[in-house]
Symmetry: C2
Subunit: 260 residues, 2 copies
């Protein structure tokens, strides 16, 4: 298994640099790599590169960039607006949503949100690790938490909100998103908004449902936990409006296999 | 919060019975319920019932069934055929797939399956807990593990396999499932087949792709972990071919809220 790492330095063939502390620790102590071993790098700007370990010393790990593997690419512009959950559920949500190609995480505090604390550094570390695993060339943006009122007040109305909250009879998500796909006035900026474990308050749903840029959708007859609802909505989004709807340009590898 | 419990006894108004050990412990020691407190019961056969705690003693918890809340209903006939993963990933997969309305879990050992052990009792306990939470009236069936060869040999060819493994250019899952939905010859029995972390072996994919009851589908441009792939496929399945595609009969509650 060839390690794949996010780095912050500029990447181009011939660049040599000392790995940052996290990467150095991982390569030296966790993976026990030695000079000459290959690795893969991305920095969210320059594409994905092959590299080799040039030197390992007590103090540092030197890396040399060799050649471009893939040009830079992005993910669909879909934000996940979620109410902070228990630590394990947030960890899980960040990992899975990063794999499913979310562009940004927007924490939202609603009336029934039980968790008042959110460790943004932990959230970012989990997102980086998932992006490394899932062969993304970008990291999801971690946005500063907002109250629901602040979120709505500052919201760009050209970014459509897909509201996962069944207040009254709403269209099933598949039907609703297929309808949006046909709408030529539609821009390509999206937000998926999910409530906390306790659900949205009735007043919140009433407020949201009246906004012209909100499309409420139904996720089926079962009661889903908040994290499950968010991921189901994101998976369906990618399969209809996102890059999961695109036919692959060339033969692809089996799921779970790395191109290396 | 009114506890919702799976029980094995027959349920009808007026039935009185001693709770099984797991339920008794939960009601008495975890939830600290006392006589007169309400609860909700289902047994996968008779529907969902209101009940009350009739008596709590050192040795037992007596429950009395009052009235029917909802008639029995089922989930779409979709099996999740998955290669055993690490314990945490299996726990997570079972919880989320149960919420997403899977009818059965079918463990499959493939060439690259790293985990050789699978605790079926733990799997069942997790499925019961998730079914209690998600307001299902059924439990997913837990099927005995098979090798991939055994699975194929014994497979009912009228149950179509949706293969989550991109061997060569395959249709995106949304397009593939929408196509199957139009096919009037199609039965309503399904299996979603996902590989292990290492992916399927080339020989396995070649074998599977030749079977007339297998539809390979693509899950988008990113590399998904095995559990993420399974859940994304199941979510998209429910939104197109499953009960997530049905318009709700009446106003529904917000996600995460219980009707109680």
């Amino acid at each position: 298994m060839i390690p794949r790492l996010y780095v912050t330095v500029d990447l181009k063939p011939g660049t040599r640099f000392a790995a940052e502390e996290r990467a150095a620790h991982y390569l030296k102590n966790v993976m026990r790599r030695t000079p000459g071993d290959p690795l893969i790098l991305f920095n969210t700007r320059d594409g994905e590169f092959n590299a080799t370990i040039a030197d390992v010393s007590k103090k540092s790990v030197e890396i040399e960039v060799t050649d471009l593997r893939r040009p830079q690419s992005s993910v669909p512009d879909v934000w996940l607006c979620f109410a902070p959950l228990k630590k394990d559920a947030v960890d899980f949500l960040v990992e899975k949503a990063t794999e499913l190609g979310v562009a940004a995480f927007q924490p939202v505090f609603t009336k029934h949100t039980a968790s008042t604390r959110l460790n943004l550094e932990r959230l970012e570390a989990n997102a980086i690790e998932a992006a490394e695993q899932t062969e993304r060339l970008t990291l999801p943006q971690i946005r500063a938490p907002l109250s629901l009122a602040e979120l709505i007040q500052g919201w760009d109305p050209t970014r459509r909100i897909i509201l996962c909250a069944e207040a009254g009879p709403v269209l099933p998500i598949g039907e609703a998103l297929s309808g949006l796909k046909q709408d030529v006035r539609q821009t390509n900026a999206w937000g998926i908004l999910c409530g906390p474990e306790g659900g949205f308050a009735r007043s919140e749903l009433d407020l949201l449902s009246k906004l012209p840029f909100v499309t409420p959708v139904g996720l089926g007859p079962r009661i889903l936990r908040a994290d499950t609802a968010a991921l189901a909505a994101l998976a369906v989004f990618q399969s209809i409006l996102g890059d999961g709807a695109e036919r692959p340009p060339a033969p692809l590898l089996p799921i779970g296999q790395s191109p290396a």
